[in-house]
Symmetry: C2
Subunit: 891 residues, 2 copies
């Protein structure tokens, strides 16, 4: 056990564990030569000793404290308990190694008593002194003595005397209140100690004990803060911004926290924030008087402004980030009370990171760690205009970010219909289920009154990248009468609302939204990310439009192009159905030939958009019955066609019905799909591969660079990939020969069946790339059918902490990740195969970090997640490549 | 390169690779001092050299052959090519290291020509000599010269001369035929070599070359016989059983091949088999004359019988198995031509193994390897009485063993109904699908005209342990008119048939069946198996009846008792449904209390049957909707109840319908079932655990030993088992305390979700045993829904060799097995946990061997598979524990 007490100049920033966060911060500022009020810190070690053995330790501690107070007296030229001159007052503040806002105790104005009060009144003014004493009695009484009734007494007094605000209380009032407070102490058989050292001792004890109060324990449990850290106690000389008209209190940002800009007036750099003359911090918060913007100080107290600006610049250089500073001016003298990295908007965050990097204050890596992926995500969604001031009518969970306006529609089918007509609708339901999928797909956003962050609506909306506010319980939906009610507001079907999935707010009417317009710095930051990242980012894109978006957002290829989506288009589906109900090879071939021409076009346009980046095209994956109407619908269609006497139609629908019955499966997820289809009906895959290489040849001939990668889905046995690859590579070679072109390409496989991961060494012999289909791999590794699980038991599991997170949102590194590791180890023994992730996890920063850690080459995610993934990729690389980089705690 | 030619006395049994199977066998017999006709073997090495360089090698070889023939002449006291005395004739036979029946060539009577013919005729009789010459011309002509028309010429000649049998041909006829044969040679510009050494040389060349004929290659490909082994050539002095009335040819079994008994008449041990006087082997096969049973020789030629008996006894001792011997008697002298382990019935196989063991001829381990698990299986199914001689009307694939008689029923519902009424029915369908399951369950057996060994009918029947004949394509089923036709036989609905799933035969009418009556030796063998086996055998049993059967067949516990089957019983289902549609905890509890009493009874009776062996009871596993009627049925029930104005019933069915809709799942296999149910509705599991321990206490109080093991299904996350186990163990403890008894028990988990295997170290912390649910583990590891896969693509996969076997029948050691290994390695690091297999694989010998090899403690299978599993367990232990044990090739 070394020193028990550190004066601020004896500590520094990295002594948090010993001095607590606040103590270390004050120490660091002091050592920078900033005008910090003198003070000292009792270490966390003392706290731990005290908690085990209070009396002995307090007896040893207090003489040391007394010595330190003597030193403060010397520095402040005031005396603690002085009844003549200006008395020294101190604050006693807790300060744990980790920030635990509001969890622990603070007492101000320690050192006032009936006598020093008079001295203070004499040296300052009576009302100020009385008010300070009133505050001490109240704070000390409630915190140290546990008397919680002072607020009521004060309230009661004001009511009785018809005064609304504290400031309306004059000296007489305050004297009366002090008297009432003292009587309250007596009521509890307590007494406010007139001995100022006794005040100090009890305050220190209280701070130490507060480490073990219930809310602090709960907070530590929630945030995983070790029980045995303890809290430090900071004892700081009080300075007063409310001493006179040459005093003030305020906060200042070193640059514009909305934009991140550094701005100038007449060549003078501007600080942001505000100050209030002759006021204390509390008064700023109370909002009675309007504070002045800091720039006004430039005229009012130019010397102090210059001092503050110099301090801001020094602190920015020192902390390498925009600072949010608290200061007090006492009788013309500036004191710095706190500084921290300033909160900022996402746009400002990007701007600041890039500026600091360009100003040479931080490295590329530091800049990349400064911006969070959540911030990047927010910049990509429409937002409610921050200047919009109307209050929301309700608030739910912010389940999927972005904002959208639209007409309230309660029925999914109607929502789908209106959506298709181009109307903007918000689907409003108590909760959604898979039957609502078409409505969700066509709506601008979804609002539910039930369900949590893993509810169907939340999951689907996130998947679709559209706003969702879920579990807005205040909203009472009357589906029958088509309205919802929230408090007294009634919102009818077709009324316009706006939902903000970033905040969870619901607004009446169409409120102004800000479209995502990524700044120059946004793209600069992502370029820095690409320079650093050692794991690539591609996009999942099924259409040329998606491909274009992916390219715009910086995807370096397409990691997954799902060809089945192409067959769902209105003009394709009938041909696809023709193919499915074909009874002979010839009939099937006829339909496939029609599809071939369409697919050539599809692939050609995607290659064009991707300008030579690799494009992974997955061969047909879903079970065929997904392309047929549901059996109930077919039965109706047959009935209808019969009534109309349309015989050929009757026959066609009957064929579909029979086929659909034949294709019916108990568990379609584990059924006849993927390469299983491609093996039993090789002509489907052959058509697709022909289309891919004809499209590639066409583009190539037009001078467009192309790099097709053909991906075989659902492989689980080496013979599957062997069978498929041998046949399809022949097709590819034949097409290229026929077209007379020479194009590089690869064949690869999805790793989405657990068995595939286990025998990766064998599969690798027949493939040039692997792409982890982590959605299905998660389903099979957990034995969860996602549709069923997210509706039936995952919410329960999350609520009861059976699962710590939804494994469909963030990769389960323990189980699924282990399989992936096994897979990579086995595959890499055979060859240096290209590997990627194309499940939904490809856009999740935690999952990207894991992917990088196990040596995966790229992730692939939806186009609008690409910027997030690029930053996450860089951050993962930095965090894992070099533990030396200081992981600066941003906000 | 050492010796090219080995006389029989120079070789021995273990020189198969050099001398071929036949050569080594003849050598072994010779060295045992048996009267084998003298001869020698040209080694397989020479064959290989010859195939690379024929002319050089034949030039080197023939002088050596000539020297060896000289030695034969000396031994036989005959001369090769002798035109005066009795000429030496030889056979030239191929003999590869592995048996390749019928694949390669043999030429008899080499050494006959126009001159030696006369000498032979003089020394024997003319007709015999001419017939021998005719055979040589024919065999040599077709085999060496490639002329395939001799059979036609012979046929033609007999027709023309109105003779039916070869034996009716007299010397004149034979002379004519010989002339016709020679003309046929000339027609092909060939000549039969009169030079006997030329005959020999060409015959040897032909045998060598036959190694590379197409059917031999195909055979080797099929049976994995190395291409580079080559064949040996055996040159053996001809002896003639058709020389005169003191000659004969025959086969003898050293003991009764039907029963395996050693039997005696008047104290003299009896041989089995038959012999034919003055005849050649071919005549026995032709079946013209009725051969004599071997016992007759006892009176006819007692000295030869004694000689043969002594040989039989010697061979049995030598080969340590029942022998099947071929012999020839030439003019009163016995020659042994071949001996091999005799084919036998399954019952005999068991008897022989046990007898040899008791006689001290073989070790326990050898006895256990003598009987195949297939034989054991056959002994457990009813068989068609072997003495039944009517021909089957059709033959299909023997998909599931055993025989059964019953009325032909074409409709599954009708079959189910009649079956429930106690009638014996055979379900006859073109093929079956999951809708036929109830009919299958109530039928005695199933016959299909389509599908293979992995068809739905085959798989389900095997699972249920009832006979199935599938893919009987001759059968034309007319479902509309309710009959089937096979050739000209018409079988109508309700007609009686018998199917034999062991052979694939279908019989008209009710044919006599033999019930499985396992012999004393059967149980003795299994007891030996238990002594040796280092992996235990338990049974899957859900009822006291099954438990009793399991105990009878020697199961050492129950590895899986599926409690859900108990809820399906007629009196339980309504209560279960009550529980499911309960809207409050109280309603649910009421239903559960009723179920509790029933379950106590269930478990008590099972404990009683198992007499202290461990009983693993799995908590409720299937999704709840399985206990509700299908929605179509509910709709009908509602309609019906409405019509009858039965309001409370309407309400009940409507509740069920709503519940059923709520419970509907996209992929129920991966849905809301297993411990997921038990976590969300803990009261169900609590009821079951209460029942288990109340039942155990009851039994315990009655002096019955009990050892319950509670198994939690579908665990995939450590928190699941933690959550469930902590709560349920509390219940167990409380019940035992209330009952005032102390009982050992364990809690454990199924390993059936891949993730569970991957985190086995964590799960092991909360469990005392693991049971691999290999059915589900296979489904999830492969991503196969068994119902769908076996109907849709597994047959195609097997046919096209994508899969080598159906992984639901035999464990996929490569993938699923790898996961199991990972699981065991991880778990055993934590504790020495008890492990078992309770999937269908628990009864599959190959899977049992794998289970033993990775250190699993026991397998569990259906009761009637227990004997198979016990033997398989012993065999696995022997094969893997000591590679020293000679793996005697049985049959």
């Amino acid at each position: 056990m070394s020193k028990w007490i550190y004066f601020f100049e004896e500590g520094k920033a990295d002594m948090k564990l010993l001095l607590g966060g606040k103590g270390a911060n004050l120490a660091e500022m002091t050592n920078l030569g900033l005008p910090v009020p003198p003070g000292f810190t009792i270490t966390t070690e003392v706290c731990k000793l005290y908690l085990n053995n209070p009396e002995e330790i307090i007896n040893k501690l207090m003489p040391l404290v007394k010595d330190s107070i003597k030193e403060l007296e010397r520095r402040m030229n005031r005396k603690f308990g002085d009844t003549e001159g200006m008395p020294l007052l101190v604050s006693v503040r807790s300060g744990a190694p980790a920030s635990m806002p509001g969890m622990m105790d603070t007492i101000l104005n320690v050192g006032l008593n009936d006598q020093t009060l008079l001295a203070l009144a004499k040296k300052t003014n009576e009302r100020f002194a009385l008010d300070s004493y009133r505050r001490l009695l109240q704070m000390f009484g409630s915190t140290v003595m546990g008397i919680k009734t002072f607020e009521d007494i004060l309230h009661h007094y004001k009511e009785k005397h018809n005064k609304k605000l504290d400031i309306e209380l004059d000296s007489n009032d305050l004297k009366n209140i002090i008297e009432l407070y003292k009587q309250e102490y007596a009521k509890y058989n307590k007494e406010f100690p007139q001995d100022v050292y006794k005040q100090l001792e009890l305050s220190i004890r209280t701070v130490f004990n507060s480490w073990n109060n219930e809310r602090a324990k709960e907070y530590r449990r929630l945030y995983n803060i070790p029980e045995d850290w303890g809290t430090a106690v900071n004892i700081v000389s009080m300075v007063f911004g409310n001493l006179n008209e040459r005093s003030a209190t305020g906060v200042a940002f070193s640059r514009n926290p909305s934009t991140g800009e550094v701005e100038f007036i007449d060549g003078k750099r501007i600080l942001y924030g505000e100050y209030l003359i002759n006021a204390q911090g509390e008064d700023v918060v109370a909002g009675i008087r309007t504070p002045e913007p800091i720039v006004n100080m430039l005229k009012q107290w130019p010397e102090i402004y210059d001092q503050l600006l110099k301090i801001a610049e020094k602190l920015e250089k020192h902390y390498k980030d925009m600072q949010d500073m608290e200061f007090t001016i006492e009788d013309g003298k500036l004191y710095m009370l706190q500084t921290r990295n300033g909160k900022r908007t996402p746009a400002a965050s990007v701007k600041i990171a890039i500026s600091f990097y360009k100003e040479g204050l931080i490295t590329k890596e530091e800049a990349l760690l400064r911006v969070s992926t959540e911030e990047i995500e927010k910049l990509l969604h429409p937002q409610v205009d921050p200047s919009y001031k109307e209050k929301p009518i309700a608030k739910g969970l912010n389940a999927s970010p972005g904002a959208a306006s639209g007409k309230v529609i309660f029925d999914s089918k109607l929502a789908a219909k209106l959506g298709e007509e181009g109307q903007k609708v918000i689907l409003v339901r108590p909760e959604t289920n898979p039957d609502d999928i078409h409505g969700l797909a066509r709506a601008k956003g979804v609002l539910t009154s039930r369900g949590g962050n893993t509810s169907h609506a939340a999951v689907v909306a996130r998947g679709m990248g559209k706003p969702a506010v879920v579990g807005a319980e205040e909203i009472k939906i009357d589906l029958e009468n088509k309205f919802f009610k929230v408090n007294d507001v009634i919102v009818k079907e077709y009324d316009m609302i706006t939902i903000d999935g970033t905040t969870g707010n619901v607004y009446l009417g169409e409120v102004p939204l800000i479209d995502p317009k990524p700044s120059k710095e946004f793209f600069e930051l992502l370029e820095l990310a690409d320079e650093v990242a050692k794991i690539g980012v591609r996009a999942n894109a099924d259409t040329p439009q998606d491909a274009a978006k992916a390219y715009y957002y910086g995807a370096k290829g397409i990691g997954l192009c799902r060809t089945e989506h192409m067959f769902m288009a209105e003009d394709r589906l009938p041909v696809m159905q023709e193919m499915i109900i074909a009874e002979t090879y010839e009939e099937r071939k006829k339909a496939l030939d029609k599809l071939l021409l369409m697919q050539i076009d599809d692939f050609y346009n995607i290659f064009k958009e991707m300008k030579g980046y690799p494009v992974i095209i997955r061969l047909l994956d879903p079970p065929l019955h997904e392309f047929l109407p549901k059996e109930e619908i077919l039965n109706e269609l047959i009935k209808d066609a019969k009534q109309r006497g349309h015989n050929s139609l009757v026959e066609k629908y009957q064929k579909m019905l029979i086929k659909s019955q034949n294709l019916r499966e108990a568990n379609p997820m584990l059924g006849f799909r993927g390469c299983r289809l491609g093996i039993v009906y090789p002509e489907i895959n052959e058509m697709q591969v022909t289309a891919i290489f004809k499209a590639a040849a066409k583009a190539h001939k037009e001078g467009i660079k192309v790099f097709p990668e053909v991906m075989v889905p659902l492989v689980g046995h080496v013979n599957e990939i062997k069978f498929v690859k041998e046949r399809l590579e022949e097709v590819a070679k034949r097409v290229l020969q026929e077209e007379g072109v020479n194009i590089d390409y690869m064949f690869g496989t999805m790793i989405e069946v657990p068995r595939a991961a286990l025998i990766a060494d064998k599969i690798a012999q027949y493939t040039e790339f692997f792409s982890f289909g982590t959605n299905d791999l998660t389903q099979m590794t957990f034995g969860y059918s996602r549709d069923d699980a997210e509706a039936k038991f995952i919410p329960y599991y999350l609520e009861h902490k059976i699962l710590e997170f939804n494994p469909f949102q963030s990769l389960d590194t323990e189980g699924v990740g282990q399989l992936m590791k096994i897979c990579l180890e086995k595959a890499k023994k055979v060859k240096n195969i290209e590997t990627g992730i194309c499940g939904e996890h490809g856009g999740d920063p935690k999952s990207i970090e894991f992917a990088y850690s196990i040596g995966i080459d790229y992730v692939s995610c939806s186009p609008y997640r690409v910027p997030v993934a690029r930053l996450a990729a860089a951050q993962a690389t930095i965090k894992l490549s070099s533990k030396k980089v200081d992981l600066v705690e941003t906000k």
